[in-house]
Symmetry: C2
Subunit: 224 residues, 2 copies
């Protein structure tokens, strides 16, 4: 199988969740059946929120490009990044190496379009909205993103996950936001890897988790 | 903080557990407070059990040396390996790069000696016993390892973890082995990263988990 390089640490819990989902996606009898990953768990990527929303922080582009080159040097055959907002820098990452980049946003837009929904309720960081990472991929497929308004409650939940609060204590607040979105949207898209940690504690809802879509891309690439 | 390179995938669940324990060891307010890791989650390391016990398998040494070089190329400042048995190859790994190797076995022997116990009940793979990885470090500190006899029940538990069986279903069998060891030993050492996955489901027992000791070494090195 071909190893996939993971630009990780955004946040570190979400990177570990991706690795757990990749393991769970494989029916393994022994170690050797699993997908090889090279994971740069780098918590020192400058804050995407500080750079994209608050407009005060350091640009994370140079660090992300270095991580891509590092993963290439370590033998990765493709790159993936379990952070929706950081896909604002996907172009720069693609340009840093010759490796294919398994784009979580494009793949998620494909999955949603295949499902037949048109109006997509976005459980996403305000940074993802402001960075407009889903805008062009959605428009190209006739999808319309519907964001929570206001979205400070979502940001508070994301920050609580990063602080280490237990996902099950955060689920009621996320479910409330999700139900609000479903009054205007056909389905939901979980488009924040911190919120993916809370999904198992949510009630049954129609949703596509971009992290699960990325897991499918990684396993598919590794095995191809 | 200095990034630590992880020779992982032996098995993949244990590598993820190490990463979770490193996260949990840090009181973080945001991503940037965490320890940087570069993790080679390589499930294709030839079986240590097949090579060391069954004497039929490929020698994993070249793959482990390559992984060490790969992690050095990716910017690791030290190496660590969350697999007790694979420490049979620690010498070859040390020789592959100029990086310090955070030796789980030496650090665990130090911790046990500090605790004042002398006879150590080993919850370990038969491969760890046959590879005698603990023998010299224990002897140097006046410690005596006590292994379960016979140890095929331990090997069956390890293989069940690798197959993905739920740790809580395996805990009663491991507790039975542990209690048997404590009739002859002062304390227990969990010296198999697969068995570390079962520890949270065990009843209260006097034990030192080598994986926890390695986590302490990693966090200490990263922050120094």
């Amino acid at each position: 199988m071909r190893p996939v390089g993971i630009l990780g640490g955004m946040g570190p819990e979400a990177t570990i969740l991706l690795m757990r989902k990749v393991l769970a996606a494989v029916a393994a009898q022994d170690d050797a059946d699993h997908v090889p990953l090279i994971v740069h768990q780098n918590p020192a990527v400058p804050s995407r929120i500080a750079h994209l929303i608050e407009r005060t922080g350091t640009d994370p582009t140079p660090v992300l490009r270095d991580m891509a080159r590092t993963l290439e040097a370590a033998g990765a055959a493709a790159l993936a990044m379990p952070c929706n907002t950081a896909h604002a820098y996907a172009g720069a990452i693609r340009g840093a190496t010759t490796l294919p980049f398994l784009d979580m946003i494009e793949a998620t837009a494909d999955r949603l379009a295949e499902g037949g929904a048109r109006r997509i309720g976005m459980l996403a960081s305000p940074a993802t909205r402001l960075a407009t990472v889903f805008e062009a991929p959605f428009a190209a497929r006739g999808l319309v993103p519907v964001f929570p308004e206001p979205d400070d409650a979502v940001l508070a939940l994301i920050r609580a996950v990063k602080r280490g609060e237990r996902p099950e204590t955060l689920a009621p607040a996320l479910a409330h936001i999700a139900e609000g979105l479903l009054t205007e949207a056909d389905t939901l898209c979980v488009a924040c890897t911190e919120l993916s940690l809370v999904v198992p504690s949510l009630p049954e809802l129609p949703l596509t988790d971009s992290l699960d879509v990325l897991v499918g891309e990684i396993v598919g690439f590794a095995r191809a």
